[in-house]
């Protein structure tokens, strides 16, 4: 028979854990709202610049930036965005699983893969999984600044420019709604023009002052915006996933407490019954 005192202690500690998880749930909920707002604010810019870039890529410009050329692929790069902290359900695992599958596909074709990691969890994962990590940055805050990210991305872009890497992918979680976040792996460079029939005819912009300078500036801004948006989106995903994970943890703790309380009450009742029958038995014997 379980000891009532021991059970009480166990229930107490589960209650404490429940308090923590429910507090974390509420913190994540309020952070998620802010992160979602940030994501929504940044979206118009990254959408518009994507549209402009795809116009530029569709045009027949006098100057073609090397980020626009498809090359024969000998080596690919991945920029992988994960969270810094855990306790957010399967968010990172799902993303890393998708990435590992993709990497395996390349490796099977004898193409080597370079990794650029943003976020602690990815760094930890690839430390044990192995892989050619060329840049890593962790401790990206909840309000990321473009300047925090530039360094590690630049390493990758430089490799592309030098011709060491022929394709760069960006992997992050995409926020669909609070309940659903899905991993997505998108091609970052070479730029991937949208198929738009309306823009297929031969045309070009008037460039002021200079095509080369403008397109370079625009592409740099575009890449920054894409990665920044991906990081911001990942933060929103993290908070949403954390909220859900903590909510279910709180619920599970509640269930556990109910069960343990039932057992404890049983044990207490059994002890009382036993005592009573002992007293009655003792009285009858006298």
């Amino acid at each position: 028979m379980a000891n009532a005192k021991e059970l009480r202690k166990q229930i107490g500690s589960i209650k404490n854990t429940q308090k923590i998880t429910s507090a974390m749930e509420m913190v994540a909920a309020s952070k998620m709202r802010k992160a979602q707002e940030r994501m929504a604010l940044g979206r118009p810019y990254s959408d518009e610049i994507r549209a402009v870039i795809s116009h530029v890529a569709n045009a027949s410009p006098e100057y073609r930036h090397h980020f626009m050329h498809e090359r024969e692929i000998r080596r690919v790069g991945f920029i992988i965005i994960t969270t810094d902290k855990g306790l957010c359900g399967g968010l990172n695992i799902n993303l890393l699983k998708a990435v590992v599958l993709d990497i395996k596909k390349w490796v099977d074709q004898d193409i080597e893969v370079d990794l650029c990691l943003i976020g602690n969890k990815g760094v930890q994962f690839f430390k044990s999984y192995g892989g050619n990590v060329i840049a890593a940055s962790n401790h990206v805050s909840e309000t990321p600044a473009v300047s925090d990210l530039i360094g590690s991305i630049k390493v990758m872009l430089d490799l592309f420019e030098e011709g060491q890497v022929d394709k760069i992918y960006l992997a992050n979680n995409v926020f669909i709604n609070t309940m659903t976040q899905t991993p997505a792996i998108r091609q970052l460079v070479p730029l991937d023009p949208d198929e738009d029939e309306g823009l297929k005819h031969r045309w070009d912009y008037i460039y002021e002052p200079d095509a080369r300078q403008l397109v370079e500036g625009l592409i740099a801004r575009f890449l920054e915006a894409q990665v920044y948006q991906a990081v911001v989106e990942n933060v929103a995903c993290e908070q949403a996933a954390k909220m859900i994970a903590m909510k279910s943890a709180t619920e599970n703790a509640g269930e556990l407490i109910d069960e343990l309380e039932l057992i404890m009450n049983n044990a207490r009742q059994a002890a009382i019954t036993q005592e009573l029958s002992e007293i009655v038995g003792g009285a009858a014997a006298v």
Partner: protein, 140 residues
Amino acid sequence: MASTVNCSIVSAEEEIFSGQVEMVVATGTIGELGILPGHTPLLSGVKPGPVRLILEGGEEQIYFASGGFIEVQPTSITILADTALRADDLDEAAALESQRRAEQELADQKSDVDFARVSSDLQEQAAMLRTIRKFRERKK
């Protein structure tokens, strides 16, 4: 009725304006640009300065862009600003103060300041003040 074109101003932080306009006047890298509907495709840099929109019906709105890009298509105009503000959000006192500070830093040759950064700061503040003045004039 005058023809209109779809225009949007977005900055890295948020969408500032989106709607139909009759004309856009912006400060391009090599001079002021006035863009009417049906303009040929154009891609240009934007210098810090006011962006004036003439809305459907002749109403005017003034915004401030601290540099960026402008893309013109016959049916749409997109301004990708680094930071953009509505002119009535601009704070003249703050702009004057930071202009003064930048000038001081420039004058103070002994301190090791980043010359390029300060002078670009100065330019930006001056452009901001220009926008505010323009906005004031319009209001009178």
